[in-house]
């Protein structure tokens, strides 16, 4: 866009822009730029909310909005790169001898500088966004730590078990009361696993003899899945179980049912 073949006329900047915009390849680039930017933005806005599962916590909402908005933010970058590539591609020449030489442009410092500055800016936006989100999560966790319910999660080849110390029960299904801050203390009996309650949007590895902690506050009633996200041997694929976010009353009922069965499910 910035390259000017003919500068004899010394036009004013305004005229120069107009002149450049009249050129066929500049217009083609602009067209493809708008097309690809729109395409990628729509893809981000449309696809991720449909592809990703139910949102059952603030963390999951944060994960999904990052996926969506990072796609939208990077759409113009993808757009500009693909626009130049596409414009070049539609002009491709067949034949057994090389086509005529193009202009000998071996660099253009302002373009390189602007390009670097813009990518630096986009990069900073991504970093600041991520940092803010991380910070919100940890602040949230600290604020809620005092009234959080503890669940001790143990991964073993190839099942999950959940110990609720306050309730005095141990189960293989993960039931959680809605709007209750939860602290998961995760550990492994054998090899590495990764505790992934999918719809809650958090994840942490289960390591042998080292407890890892993750906080989440489920804010929507419904079923979710618990999976293992770290290859842990033959039946890694089957190391999953069901989870349920339910009202406080339902949760208490469930606890007393489990207790009635002997405190272990």
């Amino acid at each position: 866009m910035e390259h000017q073949d003919d500068e004899d006329l010394k036009p004013t900047p305004g005229e120069r822009v107009k002149q450049v915009l009249k050129e066929k390849d500049v217009r083609q680039v602009l067209f493809f730029f708008v097309l690809f930017t729109a395409l990628f933005s729509i893809l981000g806005l449309w696809a991720y909310p449909r592809w990703m599962p139910n949102i059952m916590s603030k963390e999951m909402r944060g994960d999904e909005s990052i996926m969506i908005w990072f796609t939208v933010i990077s759409a113009p970058i993808a757009g500009i790169v693909l626009a130049f590539a596409m414009r070049s591609f539609i002009d491709i020449q067949r034949g057994d001898t090389p086509p005529e030489d193009g202009p000998a442009i071996s660099g253009h410092t302002p373009t390189v500088v602007i390009w670097t500055a813009v990518s630096f800016l986009f990069c900073t936006v991504a970093i600041v966004w991520g940092m803010t989100e991380m910070n919100t999560w940890s602040q949230d966790a600290i604020a809620k730590e005092s009234n959080a319910m503890v669940v001790n999660v143990t991964g073993a080849q190839w099942s999950w078990s959940f110990n609720y110390p306050a309730q005095g029960i141990t189960t293989h299904e993960l039931n959680l009361p809605v709007k209750q801050p939860i602290t998961f203390n995760v550990i492994s009996d054998d090899v590495n696993h990764s505790f992934w309650p999918v719809e809650l949007g958090v994840k942490v590895d289960a390591n042998r003899l080292a407890t890892t902690v993750v906080h989440v506050t489920p804010d929507k009633i419904g079923a979710f899945e618990v999976k293992c996200a770290e290859l842990c041997g033959i039946y890694h694929a089957y190391m999953e179980t069901n989870g349920q976010v339910e009202s406080r009353a339902d949760f208490d009922n469930w606890v007393s049912t489990v207790k009635a069965q002997g405190g272990a499910q």
């Binding site: 073949d5 003919d6 390849d25 991720y48 592809w51 963390e59 999951m60 994960d63 990052i66 996926m67 990072f70 796609t71 990077s74 993808a78 790169v81 693909l82 130049f84 070049s88 591609f89 002009d91 491709i92 020449q93 090389p98 030489d101 193009g102 202009p103 000998a104 442009i105 071996s106 660099g107 253009h108 390189v112 390009w115 670097t116 986009f122 990069c123 991504a126 991520g130 989100e133 991380m134 999560w137 995760v186 054998d190 590495n192 990764s194 719809e199 994840k203 942490v204 590895d205 390591n207 003899l209 080292a210 902690v213 999976k227 290859l231 041997g233 033959i234 039946y235 890694h236 694929a237």
Partner: protein, 636 residues
């Protein structure tokens, strides 16, 4: 530096002088066959001696702490390394060092013989120091590895075609995943720097050979010995760990794991040797007048890549040696029960693992940057930005490893810093795109296979790069880590970018390497089948990842059925395309159209030498007077 360049007999066409036959020399009788015989003798000999030792009631070193499985691991690892040593002795790789021990060296005739001077096809099966022979050996080796890894990929996708297909058993599936991974990683690390870095690069810089021709042959034949070792994993029960081989899963794994360890240690040795050699060659052996700002960009990229590999792979080697010690002598580096930590392994692994993806990527991109100016008939846009891009990536890549460990619990407080370094890599990466699209701008591209790869690269690497930004973001990675989304992302970068670059390089340099043109029709059909199939395959995998499917699962729920079916259909298309490319390469190398000396009208030095390339490449050492991108009509 080799003495060949100083030998007056060595200049001039090979056919015009008598073939030197060193008398009474062992060298003339050694080849791949003798190497295999000696290697197998060493391997089985070690195996039986150790088996006997460990089953003997009178054995020394009878340690209560070591169980039978430790002894099996010792036996197997020792046998594998002895195979490697035996092969190298049998093929004559160590004759030079043996001579040094007695204060001598190879004679000039022997060196010429080792260089394959005037020999027929048999030199490809010998310890040949000619860089062009080594380049072809690497090319065949890479294609074999890609074929094996691709076959495993097809089996993986077949198993995942529907939920509960049970095409293979779960432990076989896990082995497929791990061995597909390591085979492809090894193949991709050498895919550009092996064939083109050895065959083309010395000619490109106007050198007569590599700086250390014998090390060059050594790097290839050491790598060769790793291939049977890796294959043996299948016969020893496979590997259950994936290619990341996380401890403690790896320390507890069955005997097949030994094959994995040995392969990595042998491969790391080969890479270190090759990396030192290529780096030295580029620094020390450039033609007169080839100042640093006139070095072709592929040479710069390959050098940065191997220079990055030199510190990276020893870390992997060290990680694997420790895994090996845990498995053989119960040391417990990674055993939390006796004070070790799996996080130590994860750190060592990823300190190699993240530079490694750029070791793979950079030469592929550099090859495409070499191609683009030739086919758009314009200079490379901003040579400086290209180098800044490569150097920036290489520099930052050693500071990003823990982004693979955000969710490991190792050190959550470092997630922020690692997120910053990781996202900053997008800046030098962006420069690579700028160089390519800047080169295209206002040029008239020539529709040829190498150029098509440039377009495919831009599309694929853009998707791979942008999805990398999400993954590097800690909150989003909470969801995405360990999911199929990651698998799709890194296939876009490794396969979509690096392998596409290497295929472009193959189409580009094929005429110089084989003397014939690559079959265009076959190439086009393969290109479109592979590229369309690839995008269907991995866009499907982004979908299943976003839906929440973990990676490396042998089976999955009904909710992921559509996405996986899409991926499998795409995979078959890639498979068919790859077979067509294989056919095109073999067919063209045997009976393709004879290539002119410079079919693309390129200005780099390798196109100034005839085919077959003379032993010392240039009759007269070339003198370089300008950069190699002097295309285009002048503009004001």
């Amino acid at each position: 530096m080799t003495t060949l360049t100083h030998n007056p007999a060595a200049s001039g066409p090979a056919a015009s002088r008598p073939v030197p036959q060193p008398k009474k020399s062992l060298i003339t009788r050694l080849h791949m066959g003798t190497g295999m015989v000696v290697g197998i003798i060493f391997c089985w000999g070690t195996y039986f001696v150790l088996r006997h030792h460990f089953s003997s009631p009178y054995r020394i070193n009878h340690d209560e702490g070591l169980t039978d499985s430790h002894n099996v691991n010792i036996t197997l690892l020792a046998s594998m390394f002895m195979w490697c040593l035996g092969f190298l002795i049998g093929i004559g790789a160590l004759i030079g060092p043996f001579r040094w021990l007695i204060g001598k060296d190879l004679t000039a005739e022997e060196q010429l013989y080792l260089a394959g001077d005037g020999q027929d096809w048999k030199r490809y099966f010998r310890y040949c120091t000619d860089h062009k022979v080594v380049g072809i050996q690497y090319l065949v080796g890479v294609m074999t590895l890609l074929g094996a890894g691709g076959t495993m990929a097809m089996m993986i996708r077949t198993n995942l075609v529907t939920p509960g297909s049970h095409f293979v058993a779960p432990h076989v599936y896990n082995s497929l995943v791990g061995l597909h991974g390591i085979t492809m990683i090894i193949a991709l690390i050498i895919v550009s720097t092996g064939p083109f870095g050895n065959f083309i690069m010395p000619i490109m810089i106007g050198a007569a050979d590599m700086a250390f021709p014998r090390l060059n042959a050594l790097s290839w034949w050491v790598l060769f010995t790793a291939i049977p070792v890796l294959c043996s994993a299948w016969f020893l029960g496979g590997i259950p760990t994936g290619w990341t081989a996380y401890a403690p899963l790896s320390t507890q794994a069955g005997p097949g794991m030994n094959a994995f360890l040995a392969t990595i240690i042998i491969f790391a040795f080969s890479t270190a040797v090759a990396g030192a050699n290529i780096t030295t060659t580029v620094i020390a052996m450039r033609a007169k007048g080839m100042t640093w700002n006139r070095v072709p960009i592929f040479v710069v990229g390959a050098t940065i890549s191997v220079a990055l590999a030199v510190p990276a792979f020893p870390t992997f080697m060290a990680a694997m040696i420790q895994t090996g010690l845990d498995r053989t002598f119960a040391t417990g580096f990674y055993d939390a029960n006796i004070g070790g930590s799996g996080w130590l392994y994860a750190n060592l692994f990823w300190i190699m693992g993240h530079p490694e993806v750029y070791v793979i990527l950079i030469p592929g991109v550099a090859a495409l940057m070499e191609i683009a100016p030739v086919f758009v008939r314009k200079p490379l846009f901003s040579y400086g930005a290209a180098i800044a891009g490569f150097a920036g990536i290489a520099g930052l890549s050693i500071l990003v490893w823990a982004h693979h460990m955000y969710m490991s619990g190792w050190m959550p407080s470092l997630n922020g810093p690692f997120m910053v370094t990781t996202e900053f890599i997008s800046i030098p990466t962006g420069l690579l795109f700028l160089v390519l699209i800047g080169t295209m701008w206002r040029g008239r591209p020539w529709m040829k296979l190498p150029m098509l790869s440039v377009y495919a690269f831009i599309w694929d690497f853009l998707i791979g790069g942008i999805t990398g930004i999400y993954l590097s973001d800690v909150p989003a990675d909470n969801y995405l880590h360990g999911s199929m989304y990651v698998t799709a992302h890194f296939h876009y970068t490794l396969m979509g970018a690096a392998l596409t670059g290497a295929i472009g390089g193959l189409a580009f340099w094929f005429p110089k390497m084989t003397g014939r043109m690559l079959n265009e029709r076959g190439g086009y059909i393969s290109f479109w089948l592979v590229q369309i199939g690839f995008n269907v395959l991995f866009l499907g995998m982004f979908l299943s990842g976003a839906e929440g499917q973990p990676r490396r699962v042998a089976d999955y729920g009904q909710v992921f059925a559509h996405a996986n079916l899409i991926s499998t259909v795409g995979a078959y298309s890639v498979g068919v395309g790859a077979l067509i490319l294989l056919w095109a390469v073999i067919h063209s190398a045997r009976s393709g159209k004879i290539a002119p000396m410079n079919p693309w009208g390129s200005k780099t030095l390798e196109w100034t030498v005839p085919y077959p390339v003379p032993l010392v490449n240039f009759d007269e050492p070339p003198i370089v007077t300008s950069d190699p991108y002097g295309y285009g009509r002048s503009v004001k």
